[in-house]
């Protein structure tokens, strides 16, 4: 097997408007002699070291767009969108169980993180993710999903001691989703956190 190397190209910009800052980047990677490992799905002993092979070229390309908005001292939100694709040269080693790790990732993804100050040092937070459809390692595919996590945290100082308390609920909308095929994710995961610094 030959070692793997890559030529990588990237262009980007950060533009600061008054209330809005934007980052955009585009990239193109051309990986030579990509080492593909199909040990998990192969019908062999399954220890992974028996079906590594080089792919002449694997090309990955895409773009990232990130924007953050700040309105006064009370509200701040960030949204990040990623589009990514890849192409794989044929090797002649392809089988029904062949897979490529980049296949297991979505082409389109969005993350949102927002904070709103309800009262002094009391922040409501929201985090949301959209992940597009993608392939599963052992065949088939996974559906797109949107998850939403919410929380509230409060900090206060008393007698030179800083206290923190927060509550949260992850997957508050009860979405059915899997990040790895077959591993169903839980709904309504609620909890709390307390802390002290002195």
């Amino acid at each position: 097997m030959d070692p793997e190397s890559a030529w990588e190209y990237e262009l980007g910009i950060i533009q600061d408007f008054k209330y809005l800052t934007v980052r955009a980047a585009g990239w193109y990677y051309d990986i030579d002699d990509f080492i593909n490992d199909n040990g998990i799905t192969s019908p062999g002993p399954g220890f992974g070291s028996n079906c590594l092979y080089n792919i002449d070229h694997v090309r990955l390309y895409g773009g990232e767009l990130e924007a953050t908005i700040k309105l006064g001292d009370r509200f701040r939100a960030t949204a990040a969108y990623v589009y990514q694709r890849h192409s794989v040269d044929d090797t002649g080693y392809e089988h029904g169980w062949t897979y490529y790790l980049p296949d297991l990732l979505a082409r389109n993804k969005v993350k949102l993180l927002a904070r709103y100050m309800v009262w002094e040092d009391g922040w409501f937070q929201l985090s949301s993710r959209y992940v597009d459809a993608r392939r599963a390692q052992k065949g088939g595919g996974l559906d797109p999903y949107i998850t939403v996590d919410v929380g509230f945290d409060q900090k206060f100082k008393f007698d030179q001691i800083e206290y923190m308390a927060s509550i949260f609920c992850n997957n508050v909308t009860g979405a059915d989703y899997e990040e790895i095929a077959g591993y169903e994710m839980p709904k309504y995961v609620c909890g709390f956190q307390v802390g002290v610094k002195f």
Binding site: M1, E4, S5, A6, W7, E10, G12, Q15, D16, T21, A25, W27, Y29, D37, G39, G44, G48, S49, N50, C51, L60, G62, E64, E66, T68, A80, Y81, Q84, G92, Y93, L101, L104, A106, L113, W123, Q125, Q137, K138, D149, G151, M164, F168, N170, E179, I180, G182, Y183, M185, P186, Y188, V189, C190, G191, F192, Q193, V194, G195, V196, K197, F198
Partner: protein, 487 residues
């Protein structure tokens, strides 16, 4: 290996000369003069600050861990990465970072990224399961900040085709105030998930700084048998020496007990498995994906046949730094040791005779050790900031094959400021890698080479930054990156 002898000689000369130079410099008063605090004026830089504790420049994203906020706990590295744009975290268990998690930047995972503690690589070889980075061991108790570099455009970090995630540790303070900063934290959530942690951070007499922290996380898990308990201990001591030199020693220790999810499927073809279906838990089928080799869906047994693993991981570091002439000298020795005991079923296991294919406490270890010698931030001609260094690394499986990879590399980077607007960053890294790795043994038509070999080459990089206006920063980068040929 055409030029093995030549490079062996080069390395010996380089290391001996470098060490001799540093020793002489420290011992002669006045020669090791304090670096003048005259930073190069690079004008305005446009920075994006999307959230508290997060800053994004054209080079990297920097996260201050103490300031970072999200809905939920911030205990492990993956808790932070989940919220960062452009990073994919695929979790087997969202309640706690687990060994089976996968993290990717731009489609490339930890096999093609470099994960670092204080600038040194912690990736293991990936033998016996492709556990190249075990995310369950990377708690944030002693982490001050996280740097994320997308792509392989920095020659300062080895094997970074996909990018770099570098955790900077807390090392204590230079202070004569004997009162330490103390932090205590705890939380509880669904599925009997809890965490407690505490830390002290301070200094003694302007001579010694310290940071100590400890934590425990525990969960019953969501899937059947997907329990986990993680104990962490961290300690860092910094000695503040004459001539602004510092010597820091650090240790991170993680003890993980992790249950492999077991099949919970009333329609499983094995009637013994189907009969054990428990509707208190979600279905988990034999066909579930595996991003690691060892954690295939296991038979639903308990007691002495409970599928699980125990893992002890230690990250040890010793760092010496000292201003010297126009730059800073840094020597960093490091050691990562992972020891795991896996109890699991092999392929073909059946409930008819479960013990037949069950292996108890199968022991595997991995070790990475090395040293980095670097002369960095060398200010030259008011417009250049040069960093040069050399690194030696050994990665292996102490019990079976102690040195699977032996890596020697050297690098140089120059950050050139052309006026207030233009910055050029050329760099190059040279690698020489000795490998004693996998056979490919698939049979006719498949590659059969790859056991022993070596490889060397130069890998250049160039980044151009243009600060068009105070509000607009543009950049372009091109680089050739190299990957340690692990699975």
């Amino acid at each position: 290996m055409k030029s093995k002898g030549k490079w062996k000689q080069f390395w010996k000369v380089f290391l001996v000369t470098g060490l001799a130079f540093i020793m002489v410099t420290i011992s002669i008063p006045g020669l090791a003069k304090e670096k003048e605090p005259e930073p190069i004026d690079i004008g305005t830089i446009t920075v994006m600050a999307p959230q508290p504790g997060v800053e994004i420049t054209t080079e990297k994203t920097i996260i201050n861990v103490d300031e970072f906020e999200r809905p939920g706990e911030v205990n492990t590295l993956t808790d932070v990465l989940t919220e960062i744009g452009g990073i994919d975290v695929q979790r087997a268990n969202p309640l706690m970072a687990s060994p089976g998690d996968e993290v990717s930047i731009r489609g490339l995972n930890e096999g093609r990224m470099v994960i670092e503690i204080d600038g040194r690589r912690i990736n293991q070889t990936g033998h016996y399961g492709r556990y190249i980075v075990d995310w369950s061991t990377l708690n944030l108790d002693d982490i001050e900040s996280i740097e994320i570099i997308r792509g392989g455009h920095s020659v300062l970090h080895p094997f970074a085709i996909g990018g770099v995630i570098n955790m900077i540790t807390k090392k204590g303070k230079k202070t004569d105030d004997p009162k330490p900063d103390v932090s205590l934290k705890g939380g509880y959530g669904r599925y009997n998930t809890y965490n407690v942690s505490g830390s002290v951070d301070g200094g003694v007499g302007d001579v010694v700084g310290y940071h100590f922290s400890a934590s425990r996380g525990d969960t019953d898990g969501y899937l059947r048998n997907d329990f986990q308990r993680v104990d962490n201990l961290n300690g860092h001591l910094s000695f503040f020496l004459p001539r602004d030199a510092t010597f820091t020693v650090g240790a991170k220790y993680s003890d993980v007990l992790y249950g492999f999810p077991v099949i919970n499927d009333p329609n499983d073809p094995d009637p013994g498995v189907a009969a054990r279906y428990d509707d208190d838990y979600p279905k988990f089928k034999k066909s579930a994906d595996q991003l690691r080799h060892i954690n295939w869906p296991q038979l639903p047994t308990t007691g002495s046949l409970r599928p699980e693993w125990k893992k002890h991981t230690s990250y040890l570091d010793a760092i010496f730094q000292m201003p010297l002439g126009p730059g800073i000298v840094k020597i960093h020795g490091f050691w990562t040791e992972g020891r795991r005991w896996t109890s699991s079923y092999g392929k073909g296991a059946s409930m008819e005779d479960p013990e037949k294919k069950f292996t108890k406490d199968d022991f595997v270890d991995d070790r990475t050790k090395g040293i980095i010698c670097e002369y960095r931030d060398i200010d030259l001609f008011d417009s250049h900031s040069v960093t040069a260094g050399a690194e030696y690394q050994e990665l292996g499986w102490p019990d079976e094959n102690p040195i699977i990879y032996k890596v020697k590399s050297a690098y140089v980077q120059d950050v050139i400021h052309l006026g207030d607007r233009w910055t050029l960053t050329p760099g190059v890294r040279y690698y020489y890698v000795d490998m004693d790795t996998y056979y490919s043994q698939f049979g006719d038509g498949w590659p059969t080479e790859g056991k022993e070999g070596n490889d060397d080459g130069f890998y250049p990089s160039l980044k151009v930054d243009f600060q068009a206006t105070p509000e607009t920063a543009l950049y372009a980068a091109v680089s050739r990156s190299y990957r340690l040929p692990c699975p």
